[in-house]
């Protein structure tokens, strides 16, 4: 019984917020332009799902995000590994990465619009940009923080260069790579929203921005709820299991998840 | 003995109640941080300061001690863009342009005059000539 209570603890703040929302709305009775009621949001959510509009927008957003994620992971981890293993490449790429991380993501928006016009290519580029540098930096850090001792161990056992990379460097860097990917997911999600709010016609960001024209705060809130939920799902349902199956199984300290 | 940065420090020397060693070791990041903050302050306030220091060469001497609102002509070294017109309109009523580089402003209070003279991108502020 106590264990069930413990598992349900995370729900408490959400419930608390819900109570505040309902009570607050009942007391203040704001207009739709100011703040919607719970029932309004639920109703709007239902309407959006029914009309398929929500589905379409989610698909558009997730599609762009997915493409960018795959591209950014491949390029980020690949280049990060390369840079970590080769001092020459590191000398060139690392200072660049420092600078570009400082202006990654949405800062490229105007330039991306000039290059690609408004649309999906532009948005994917912006998201890729936001994710790539984070993943790259963390991969590089990860490769570098593999203790030299481990490489020595493989070598004393007669391992060649390739085995060093595949058996020591890759797994050793993995916690940092995963941390980078987690951060990258966050940055990418933000960049997606920002790019869509400013320059798109379809997608979650566009959906909530169009609602401003009509002062439909219920659409905005419904959209935000969906956005938050998707983000939470991605965080909890994708990353944590991956972490559990790889890092914690290998007995390394996770850099992203703290134990209670 | 040395700490990590190679400086010789004494174990018992100190600044107040923080042990001397700890303060010396932490001095470099502190200095770095202070120089960063100073740099940012310079970026944020520097141009304004520069403008205020050079205010004298901008403002026509006849306008230096006016008591009430005046009409002025503001000249810049370039064609004013939206940003400049907006900034000017906050100090007076826009009353047309003269040529490419000058803007006429009416009803500029002495306080506004001071503000205008502090804007370093303005070349000169003269009393408005009657048309």
């Amino acid at each position: 019984m106590a264990r069930l209570g413990l598992r349900l603890l995370p729900v408490v703040p959400f419930l608390g917020l819900l109570v505040v929302w309902v009570v607050g709305w009942a007391v203040a009775r704001p207009t739709l332009a100011t703040f919607p009621s719970v029932s309004q949001v639920v109703q709007t959510l239902g309407d959006l799902i029914e009309s398929g509009e929500l589905g379409r927008n989610i698909a558009a957003s997730m599609g762009r995000w997915g493409i960018a994620l795959v591209t950014a992971t491949i390029t980020g981890v690949g280049l990060g590994l390369l840079a970590g293993l080769s001092g020459v490449i590191a000398k060139i790429l690392e200072p660049l990465a420092i600078f570009f991380t400082a202006m990654s993501g949405i800062i490229w928006l105007p330039l991306a619009i000039v290059w690609f016009g408004l649309g999906t290519t532009m948005i994917v580029f912006v998201i890729w940009n936001a994710m790539f540098f984070v993943i790259f930096s963390n991969t590089l850090l990860g490769v570098r923080s593999v203790p030299g001792l481990w490489e020595d161990a493989i070598r004393t056992l007669g391992g060649n260069r390739r085995q060093v990379v595949s058996q020591v460097v890759l797994p050793g860097a993995f916690p940092h790579v995963l941390a980078g990917m987690r951060a990258g997911l966050g940055f990418g999600w933000r960049a997606l929203l920002a790019a869509e709010i400013i320059g798109a016609t379809a997608g979650l960001g566009a959906m909530i921005f169009n609602a401003t024209d009509f002062l439909r705060s219920d659409i905005i809130l419904a959209g935000n709820l969906v956005i938050g939920t998707i983000g939470l799902i991605i965080d909890l349902a994708i990353l944590v299991p991956i972490e559990r199956r790889t890092i914690e199984r290998w007995g390394m300290v996770s850099v992203t998840r703290r134990r209670m | 003995m040395t700490n990590g940065s190679g400086r010789w420090t004494s174990r018992f020397g100190g600044f107040g109640r923080i042990g001397g060693q700890r303060l010396r070791a932490s001095r470099r990041p502190l200095l770095q941080m202070m120089s960063g903050v100073l740099l940012l302050l310079a970026i944020a306030w520097g141009p304004g300061l520069y403008g205020r220091l050079t205010a004298g060469e901008r403002l026509d001497p006849n306008l230096a001690h006016t008591a009430g609102p005046v009409n002025v002509e503001v000249t810049m070294g370039f064609t004013p863009q939206g940003f400049h017109l907006q900034a000017l309109q906050q100090q007076g009523v826009f009353a047309g342009r003269i040529g490419e580089h000058t803007v006429r402003l009416f009803n500029v209070s002495p306080a506004s005059l001071r503000t205008l003279s502090g804007m370093y991108w303005i070349s000169s502020i003269r009393p408005a000539q009657p048309r």
């Binding site: 603890l9 703040p13 917020l17 100011t34 970590g84 293993l85 080769s86 001092g87 200072p95 990465a97 420092i98 600078f99 400082a102 202006m103 993501g105 949405i106 800062i107 928006l109 105007p110 000039v114 930096s137 850090l141 570098r144 923080s145 593999v146 030299g148 490489e151 966050g186 933000r190 920002a194 709010i197 921005f209 002062l215 705060s217 935000n224 956005i227 939920t229 983000g231 965080d235 850099v255 703290r258 209670m260 | 940065s5 190679g6 990041p29 770095q32 941080m33 960063g36 740099l39 940012l40 970026i43 306030w45 141009p47 304004g48 370039f78 863009q81 940003f83 400049h84 900034a87 991108w121």
Partner: protein, 294 residues
């Protein structure tokens, strides 16, 4: 430590801090670790700070000439510098930069002043992390930028809109990391103060706050990172004077030199804020309390 035969992997496999001044800097082995001349050390540090910019300019110019990119796609570093100088001459750049800096500073200060106490309060509750972690993650996922439309509905296209969004965006990581920081403190510290008769205030001052400080600083760094981007987005959306507006307006007239100038300025500003102001603070706290950053 035995000097192992240096292979190329070994040389770069030293435990490294995130690239920054005074870290693993690729010096050839053999240079003594301790006992540097202070002058050489600070010169090296300055070089490490300038290295990103130098590399940027070199690669930039290289890419432009190598691929023969037209001026519609990329302008040379020289043209960008000229554009930046022109913007300074016109008084636009300093005014916009000031406006943005004020916004982010105000947002960061408010977020810290409000967020840290909240985080502390949440952290001292039993099971605080377990209870609030998904909640805070949820709101972090929504991110400030998604609240921009609502803020516009409430406050219009004004400065308040931007400021509110920055505040929110920066506050969530700060609260979250403060919470985590408090929860990470081993119980024994709290108990030792209590056995010595310390009350709650003493606990906060001597245990919770210092103990959580490294995490708080990490949260602050994250918060400013996110807040910076929210600032840009907010400026783009509202069109108020700011660096974001600068690059967005230039887009209308395809003034790539101005866009690039603005982007470089933004990058440099953020580098200054992050590396010169925040990184030392982080190093100070980590040095003092030696906690591995989460």
């Amino acid at each position: 430590m035995v000097k192992a035969p240096t292979t190329r992997i070994m040389r770069t496999t030293r435990p490294a801090r995130v690239p920054g001044p005074g870290g693993a800097d690729g010096l050839p082995p053999g240079l003594p670790v301790a006992g540097h001349r202070p002058l050489r050390a600070s010169a090296r540090r300055a070089a490490t700070f300038a290295a990103p910019l130098i590399a940027l300019v070199v690669v930039w110019a290289g890419v432009k000439s190598l691929f023969g990119l037209s001026d519609d796609v990329l302008v040379s570093p020289a043209a960008t510098a000229r554009s930046a100088a022109e913007l300074v001459r016109l008084g636009i750049l300093p005014a916009y930069v000031s406006a943005s800096l004020w916004r982010i500073t105000l947002g960061a200060v408010l977020a810290t002043v409000i967020g840290v106490p909240i985080g502390l309060a949440l952290g001292v509750t039993r099971y605080g992390a377990r209870m609030f972690e998904p909640f805070l993650r949820f709101f972090q996922a929504i991110s400030g930028i998604a609240w921009l439309p609502l803020a516009v509905v409430w406050f219009g296209f004004t400065n308040t809109t931007i400021q509110v969004v920055i505040l929110y965006t920066a506050m969530v990581p700060i609260v979250f990391n403060t919470l985590i920081g408090v929860q990470l403190i081993p119980d024994i510290y709290k108990q030792s103060i209590q056995t010595m008769g310390g009350g709650r205030l003493r606990l906060i001052r001597d245990v919770y706050f210092p103990g959580a400080l490294p995490s708080i600083v990490v949260g602050l760094r994250l918060g400013i990172g996110y807040g910076w981007r929210a600032l840009i987005a907010g400026e783009i959306l509202t069109g108020l004077p700011g660096v974001g507006t600068l690059i967005f307006e230039a887009r209308k007239f395809h003034q790539i030199d101005q866009i690039l100038a603005g982007m470089v300025v933004i990058g440099v500003l953020y580098l200054i804020v992050d590396r010169m102001v925040l990184a030392p603070v982080e190093r100070l706290t980590v040095q003092r309390w030696g906690v591995v950053r989460a």
